[in-house]
C-alpha cells in the first residue's frame, strides 16, 4: 500500500516493499531503494544508501508533520495517510475563512496599534512583537476590519499563536 508524502512542494508516492530489522526496501515515486536505517539518537537517523552515509535529524512537529535537516537542506514533510486524507476531504474549501495575524517567531507583544472594530488599510501595522532584542511589525495586506484581539501588550506569545483576528 502506498502512502503520499509531501516534501516541501513535491508529493511523493512511497511504499515499503520489505523490512527486516534496519534493512528497508522502499519505493519512492517508482524508484526502488535498499536502505539501512537506524535511529541512532532521539530524532537522529543514520541512513546508509549505496554505502553513502547520510545523517538526518528530524522533529515531529504536530500530527504527521516533520521538520527535517540533512546536511545541505531543511525540509518540511507531511505524511498523508488514509486518516489525513479523510480529514482533509472533510475540511470545507472555504477561502473566506477568518484571517488571523500571527508571528512566526515566539516573543513578547510590544505594542498593539488597533482596537476591535477599527478599519485598517493595506500595509497598516497592527501589532509589534519583540524577541531577542529585535522587533517585528505585523501588517495587514488588504483593507480590513479588526474583529478580535487575542493578546494584550506585554504578553509572551508562542510562534504562530493567533494575535489579531481580521475580516
Amino acid at each position: 500500500m502506498s502512502t503520499e508524502i509531501k516534501i516541501n512542494d513535491r508529493t511523493a508516492l512511497v511504499e515499503i516493499l520489505s523490512r527486516e530489522g534496519n534493512k528497508v526496501r522502499i519505493s519512492i515515486d517508482g524508484k526502488q531503494y535498499d536502505a539501512d536505517v537506524v535511529m541512532v539518537e532521539k530524532g537522529v537517523y543514520s541512513i546508509l544508501l549505496d554505502n553513502r552515509s547520510h545523517n538526518i535529524e528530524l522533529i515531529h512537529t504536530e500530527n504527521k508533520n516533520y521538520k527535517l535537516n540533512t546536511y545541505s537542506k531543511s525540509y518540511d514533510i507531511e505524511i498523508i495517510d488514509a486518516e489525513t486524507k479523510y480529514l482533509k476531504s472533510r475540511r470545507r474549501d472555504d477561502s473566506q475563512e477568518e484571517a488571523v495575524i500571527s508571528s512566526p517567531m515566539p516573543g513578547k507583544v510590544v505594542k498593539i496599534l488597533v482596537k476591535v472594530g477599527d478599519q485598517v488599510k493595506a500595509g497598516d501595522t497592527v501589532v509589534i512583537v519583540s524577541a531577542m532584542k529585535m522587533e517585528s511589525e505585523y501588517k495587514v495586506k488588504k483593507d480590513r476590519i479588526i474583529k478580535d484581539i487575542k493578546v494584550k501588550e506585554g504578553d509572551t506569545i508562542k510562534a504562530n499563536q493567533p494575535l489579531v483576528i481580521i475580516e
Binding site: I16, I28, K73, K133
Partner: protein, 501 residues
C-alpha cells in the same frame, strides 16, 4: 587577593569567565533572572543568586540588585562580561563605593571613552589619528572650505541628524556646493536646525580593532589586531586574526597608537581600540570598547593568553607579566558567531527548545557556548548561542577547519545561522581575504543562493520521516492501554516506566 567573583552576566560569557575563575581557584557566583533558573551559567557556578524578572531591565541591568547579590555572597570582585553593565560608568563607580573590585577600567576611562565627542578630542590630544572632519558649521562658504581641506570624498552630515536624513556623500568638487545646500535645507526641514559638519568619507572601510591590556602601574601593551569587517546590520558575524589586510609596519604603528589611546585615559584592564581602515591602509580611531569583546578568543588563541586571567590579575593590582616585545601572533584564528536566527527568513530570531545538539570537536576547535539539549533559549536576551573558534597554521587551513567544524555542528529545534556561516566560508571574496564592511551586502546573491537541489537527498529525507512515522505508529499501538486484561495493564505500566528512563 580576589578569592570570590560575581559574574554579572549570563550565557556563554558568564561561563567563559567562570572557567578561568575555576582554574585560578576562585569561587564563582552567578546571578539569574526568572527565565534563567535552568541556564548553564547557574549550573556551572559555585553559587547562584536570583535577581528578578526575565527582562534584563528588571534584572541584569539593575545595579542595586547586582550589588545586593554581591554583598549577600560576600564576593571580592564583580566581572561584568560584555553588554549589560560592562560599560556603565555609574556601576563601576558604585562598586568602588561599596568596596567591591570592578574587574574593568576606572569609571573615568569608561565615561571618557563612552562619549564620542570627548573620546575624539582625547584622541586628537593624544596624537591618535581620527577620521578627518570639521567642527560644526552653518556658513556655506566655511563648509566648502572645510570640505576642500579634508579632501574628497566627504560626507556632509546634519548635526541634529539621524536616519540618513540631512546626509550627503560628495565625490566630486563640482557637486560640493549643491550638496551642502541640499543637506542644510533637508536638515532645516527635518530638524529645524541647519547646522552641519563634514567628515572624510572612508571608501572600502575595514573594521580593525586592537586588543590592549593595561595595569595599575602604567604599563600598557597591545595584543595585535582583529579583523571584524564581516558585519550584518553593524553586528559582527565573523572575526579573524591576523587581518588579511595588515602588514607588519602598519600593525606596529596602529598597535602603538592603540597603546597611546589607552594611556591617554590611564586605562587599566582589557580593552579594545577600534579603527576604521581604508584599502590603502589609512587608519582612523573609531571608538574604544572598555570591556572584554565577544571576539576575544581569537586573540587568546593566536597570542596564547587567557584574557580573563589577565583581567583578574590586573584587578588584583599585579603588574603585567606580558611584555610587548615577547608577544607574537602565531598562526591564524577565525571566530564564527552562531545565532538562533533563520537566515532563510531574513534572519528572524528563532528562540525555542534545543531538541538535539552535536558540538564540533577535535584539533584546533574551541567552542564557547551555553545551550544544551532540552534547554529553551529565552526570548528576552541576545540570540547568540555560541562562538566557534578555530585555529590553524595558515589562513587557508583555518577556513577549511571552520568549514569542517560548521559541518559537524548540528542543532535541531531552533534555526541557526550555521548555513549562512558555511556560505561565508565559501565566498570567493572571503576566501581571498579581499573584503570590507560591505562584504555581506556585496555578496548577498552568493550568500543567499540556495544550495543545489539533490533529489536523492530528498528521497533519503522521505525514508527517514516515513520510517519514523511507521515506528511511532507501532509504538503507539503497542502502548495504547485500552485495559481490559490485567496483563495488558501491567505491560502498559512497564512501558510507561521504561519510557521515563
Amino acid at each position: 587577593m580576589i578569592k570570590k567573583v560575581l559574574v554579572a552576566n549570563r550565557g556563554e560569557i558568564a561561563i567563559r569567565v567562570m572557567r578561568s575563575c575555576r582554574e585560578m581557584g576562585i569561587t564563582s557566583v552567578a546571578v539569574f533572572s526568572e527565565a534563567d533558573r535552568a541556564a548553564m551559567h547557574v549550573r556551572y557556578a559555585d553559587e547562584a543568586y536570583f535577581i528578578g524578572p526575565s527582562p534584563s531591565s528588571e534584572s541584569y541591568l539593575v545595579v542595586d540588585k547586582i550589588i545586593d547579590a554581591a554583598k549577600q555572597s560576600g564576593v571580592d570582585a564583580i566581572h561584568p562580561g560584555y553588554g549589560f553593565l560592562s560599560e556603565n560608568a555609574d556601576f563601576a563607580e558604585r562598586c568602588k563605593k561599596e568596596g567591591i573590585i570592578f574587574i574593568g577600567p576606572s569609571s573615568y576611562a569608561i565615561k571618557t571613552m563612552g562619549d564620542k565627542l570627548t573620546a575624539r578630542k582625547t584622541m586628537v590630544n593624544a596624537g591618535v589619528p581620527v577620521v578627518p572632519g570639521s567642527d560644526l558649521v552653518t556658513d556655506e562658504k566655511d563648509a566648502v572650505k572645510k570640505a576642500k581641506e579634508i579632501g574628497l570624498p566627504v560626507m556632509v552630515k546634519a548635526s541634529a541628524g539621524g536616519g540618513g536624513k540631512g546626509m550627503r556623500l560628495v565625490n566630486k568638487e563640482k557637486d560640493l556646493v549643491s550638496s551642502i545646500r541640499a543637506a542644510k535645507s533637508e536638515a532645516k526641514a527635518s530638524f529645524g536646525d541647519d547646522t552641519i559638519y563634514i567628515e572624510k568619507y572612508i571608501e572600502s572601510p575595514h573594521h580593525i580593532e586592537f586588543q590592549i591590556l593595561g595595569d595599575h602601574h602604567g604599563n600598557v601593551i597591545h595584543l595585535f589586531e582583529r579583523e571584524c569587517s564581516v558585519q550584518r546590520r553593524h553586528q559582527k558575524v565573523v572575526e579573524e586574526t591576523p587581518s588579511p589586510l595588515m602588514n607588519p609596519e602598519i600593525r606596529e604603528e596602529m598597535g602603538n597608537f592603540a597603546v597611546a589611546a589607552a594611556k591617554a585615559v590611564n586605562y587599566s584592564g582589557a580593552g579594545t581600540i577600534e579603527f576604521i581602515v581604508d584599502d590603502k591602509l589609512n587608519y582612523y580611531f573609531l571608538e574604544m570598547n572598555t570591556r572584554l569583546q565577544v571576539e576575544h578568543p581569537i586573540t587568546e588563541r593566536v597570542v596564547g593568553v587567557d584574557l580573563v586571567k589577565e583581567q583578574i590579575n590586573i584587578a588584583n593590582g599585579f603588574e603585567l607579566e606580558l611584555k610587548q616585545d615577547e608577544l607574537h601572533q602565531y598562526g591564524h584564528a577565525i571566530e564564527c558567531r552562531i545565532y538562533a536566527e533563520d537566515p532563510e527568513e531574513n534572519f528572524m530570531p528563532s528562540p525555542g527548545v534545543i531538541r538535539h545538539i552535536t558540538e564540533p570537536l577535535g584539533l584546533g576547535v574551541r567552542h564557547d557556548g551555553y545551550v544544551y539539549e532540552g534547554y529553551e533559549i529565552p526570548i528576552h536576551y541576545d540570540p547568540m548561542i555560541s562562538k566557534l573558534v578555530v585555529w590553524a597554521k595558515t589562513r587557508q587551513e583555518a577556513i577549511a577547519r571552520m568549514k569542517r567544524a560548521l559541518y559537524a555542528y548540528k542543532i535541531t529545534g531552533v534555526k541557526t545561522s550555521i548555513p549562512f556561516l558555511e556560505r561565508i566560508m565559501e565566498t570567493p571574496d572571503f576566501v581571498k581575504g579581499k573584503y570590507n564592511t560591505h562584504f555581506i551586502e556585496k555578496n548577498s546573491d552568493f550568500l543567499m543562493f540556495p544550495k543545489k537541489h539533490d533529489k536523492k537527498i530528498e528521497d533519503v529525507a522521505i525514508i527517514a520521516a516515513y520510517i519514523d512515522y511507521l515506528d511511532s505508529l507501532e509504538d503507539l499501538q503497542a502502548s495504547v492501554c485500552a485495559g481490559n486484561g490485567k496483563n495488558n495493564w501491567k505491560n502498559c505500566q512497564r512501558r510507561l516506566s521504561f519510557n521515563r528512563l
